[in-house]
Symmetry: C2
Subunit: 339 residues, 2 copies
């Protein structure tokens, strides 16, 4: 099969690789209909995380091609979506809603989902089948549910977004934009998107943002405060993962408010004393996408939400390298790859 390998920072190649095979009786092999490049793939691409001949990709939708002997919940021919983290969905942590930290969990993208085929471990607990074969126009939205929508959604839930709340979103990548969509769906009264890019501001508004703040850092915090009677937002979703964005999120939240952080932390050190006196609630981490998948698939299937709009560039899998370049240069919000 064709698969994507990051040889080194900035060096992404699509090449012939061995087809994945069933390793454990709980595995499934999925033939991918669509896959994509994640904002987190840019960390190694930019040399911020080490990388050496790494199979890339962890977002996937497609058709089950083969199942292990113990797989019961999905069948060959099913159209399925799974989280980037495989989970048994039966352990105490999964039952508590934290499938991304399943005691038997493993990274579903280990084999590299930017490819034609993917071995998904713990298929019964990881994959969710759609009611039937989706219309082609639903595929991008279903693909988004695999990570970026589920992550934005978790951010909004972790930030306790809901009716009567003013919500601010730090970060205008696909996760931040979909956090706006989630906040809207969860009933937030006011949604402030922090973005300096016109095309992203536009999509944020389309997803439900009522206000745009283009300032960053302390200026951004001051702006959020001035928009919220000096108190700060009730809920702030952090979707970047840098020191600046984390502090911006904490400082923009009112005492007793909630920060939901889903940007993968890189080099962040949180000052304990400031966090203590901030009085905020702080929750986040790798999103338990599996918790939300049934609901998200339902909302997409019934065309209530259209998260696939974050894909503003579609390329054949063979052009994955150009997809990385487009995202790195912020020419594209998110790139869909067609195997």
């Amino acid at each position: 099969m064709q698969g994507t390998i990051m040889y080194a920072p900035g060096d992404v190649r699509v090449e012939e690789r061995p087809d994945p095979v069933i390793v454990h009786d709980t595995d499934a092999i999925v033939r991918l209909t669509a896959t994509c490049v994640c904002g987190s793939d840019l960390w190694p691409y930019r040399g911020i995380e080490p990388v050496d001949h790494q199979p890339m990709g962890h977002e996937y939708v497609g058709v089950v091609e083969e199942i292990g002997a113990d797989v019961r919940n999905v069948r060959v021919g099913d159209f399925v979506i799974g989280s980037f983290m495989a989970s048994d969905n039966t352990c105490e942590v999964c039952l508590g809603g934290y499938q991304s930290r399943c005691v038997h969990g493993e990274f579903a993208g280990a084999g590299g989902a930017q490819s034609e085929l993917l071995r998904v471990p713990l298929a019964d607990g990881t994959l969710v089948a759609t009611p039937g074969m989706p219309d082609a126009d639903l595929v991008p939205s279903l693909l988004a549910a695999s990570d970026v929508l589920g992550t934005g959604w978790f951010g909004a839930v972790a930030a306790q977004t809901g009716p009567g709340k003013t919500v601010a979103v730090v970060g205008d990548g696909a996760v931040g934009l979909l956090a706006v969509l989630a906040a809207k769906h969860l009933g937030a009264e006011r949604i402030i998107a922090m973005s300096r890019h016109e095309s992203r501001q536009e999509l944020a508004r389309e997803f439900g943002a009522t206000d745009i703040v283009s300032e960053r850092g302390e200026d951004g915090v001051a702006r959020i405060k001035s928009l919220t009677g000096g108190f700060g937002a009730h809920s702030v979703i952090e979707a970047v993962g840098t020191q600046e964005s984390m502090m911006q999120a904490i400082r923009a939240t009112r005492p007793g408010g909630h920060v939901g952080y889903v940007g993968v932390s890189h080099g962040v050190e949180l000052p304990g004393e400031e966090l203590f006196f901030s009085g905020v609630h702080f929750h986040g981490g790798p999103a338990p996408v599996r918790r939300f998948l049934p609901e998200l698939i339902d909302l997409i299937w019934n065309r209530v939400i259209d998260p696939g709009k974050v894909f503003d560039l579609t390329l054949p899998l063979s052009e994955a390298a150009e997809g990385y370049r487009a995202m790195d240069q912020r020419r594209a919000i998110k790139v869909l790859l067609q195997p």
Copy 2:
């Protein structure tokens, strides 16, 4: 009046000071029935926080002696308890339950509560009157409600303590011990007190601890995990405020669990990446004691809880210096001072 001044680290003196007077129409002057030394008073006593001729004390119960022209909710002659943080109890932050971060808030102990008289700002929003004059044996428990009980209670609430939960408490000072009492009252199934001191272990058991763990740091974490099927506790209350205790609390909590931290942070830096992947909820800060005061007074008045047991040494106010020494040397859990 007689009042306590910390001249410098380790140098505490009780001396004649001017009687406080009404400064604002919202003030009240309270003649103190009892006051005490707080674990947080030991930070400057030990030279970890700067101190220079500081009036000390922020925990108080007593009888209202004088009120400002605008005070409506308490009357001269009322027996009252107030939080260590004064609050209007009417602003948006107070109404949200975070009176310790009231937009008009100020430190109620500015005048020094280890004294005969105290000026309490924002009396209407800060003080709560008891149903009548308390029996003498209730005074220590009512005094505890002013900070140490309210703080332990907030820790337990922030850690989402409740039925079916396994709760671990890091820290066996008065706050930690009262967090055990709070966890018990809030219905926790299992309460693990982390303590190496026999007398404190005993009081922890009396307050409701079902297990004692004497190990600390990584060993303590391993012990909590082994007691909880490898998962970690659902709820962990941090009542110390050091780097070690914070990391111990985070690491002892299962993914999706809740850390309630009420130890005042000193020199703590939280590693963002570890916090991210821990998947815990993290909430704490200066306790909004005022939120809990009516309920706590009711529980004490009706002799449902007896938090006053944390006072294992009672001294006349004139011997405050000995009170500090006893707590510093851990000869006493908490020292009550009688003006």
